[in-house]
């Protein structure tokens, strides 16, 4: 090698960060979610319930929250079967994520219950959200405010209370907010700028 040129791929003998990184595990573990519980909002139907299935298939227990009194029966059937075949646990709770008192209560109760089972809450997926197909120029402000309340305030509330739980447990954790590519580009249906604003997070 010419003088002054050093290899960029050679590693030092000691890498302290390797001891700190939770990613320093066999790949199968790095992509799995065993021994933990994940909270999912909007998990009564659609994308949220599909993500809950993904969480359960990865070995975690799931706390499913949605404003619906009951989850969609057909989709929940998949979850019931998964629970029977793999021993993971899923619970469903009706929760309005714009109501801080309700969010605080469900996170605290479910968090404590998960901890006692030896599967502490270590993550949350914020998937609850609404959308309106209205042109921006005709968009009534009550619709705009409702979108902000659910998509922005609701996502913030569940994140805030999950973060308090994670902070107090001192185990770290991961929060995933489902946003949209419309945070970055124009949406080709709904011209409403609020959707793009909201999804920017």
């Amino acid at each position: 090698m010419a003088p002054g040129i050093v290899s960029d791929i050679e590693l030092p003998r000691d890498i302290p960060e390797s001891q700190l990184s939770a990613a320093n595990v066999p790949i199968e573990k790095a992509f799995g979610l065993k021994n933990r519980t994940i909270i999912i909002t909007g998990a009564g139907r659609g994308l949220g319930i599909t993500l809950a299935v993904g969480v359960l298939e990865s070995g975690a227990d799931a706390i499913c929250l949605d404003i619906l009194p009951e989850p969609s029966a057909e989709e929940w059937d998949v979850i019931t079967k998964l629970q029977k075949s793999t021993g993971v646990r899923a619970t469903y709770h009706r929760c309005d994520i714009t109501n801080e008192e309700a969010v605080e209560k469900v996170v605290a109760e479910c968090g404590e219950e998960a901890r006692q089972r030896g599967k502490p809450v270590k993550g949350m997926i914020s998937c609850a959200g609404i959308q309106q197909m209205v042109d921006a120029i005709d968009y009534p402000m009550d619709g705009f405010r409702r979108i902000m309340e659910v998509n922005v305030a609701g996502s913030f509330l569940i994140s805030k209370h999950t973060a308090r739980l994670l902070r107090d447990q001192k185990l770290g954790g991961s929060i995933v907010m489902i946003a949209s590519m419309s945070g970055q580009i124009a949406n080709r249906v709904s011209q409403s700028p609020d959707y793009s604003l909201v999804m920017l997070f």
Binding site: L47, L171, S174, I175, M177
Partner: protein, 88 residues
């Protein structure tokens, strides 16, 4: 919001990331596509892989962000859009 929370909560080992889906076929969009076929044509112009997204397309990316494998990711956005933004 994601980046501000990631900044504030990193001290407790809490990671905050976003997952940004592209156009997905859901009950809501399915109705829209039947009502307005021109919307599908517009969406497909950006679909580099020739199809819309399915809810299942977000399972593994979401699990990855939750799992220990993404331990050094925070304040990031994972875009899963079938290539749509690459052409925008």
């Amino acid at each position: 919001m994601c980046r501000s929370l990631a900044y504030e909560w990193g001290q407790w080992g809490i990671r905050v990331n976003t997952l940004s889906p592209g156009y997905i076929r859901t009950a809501m969009t399915d109705g829209l596509l039947q009502e307005k076929p021109e919307v599908e044509e517009s969406w497909m112009r950006g679909a580099l892989l020739g199809r819309l997204g399915a809810p299942e397309d977000f399972k593994a990316p979401c699990v990855f962000l939750l799992a220990d494998g993404s331990s050094w990711m925070t304040g990031a956005d994972l875009r899963v859009d079938g290539g749509h933004c690459a052409t925008a």
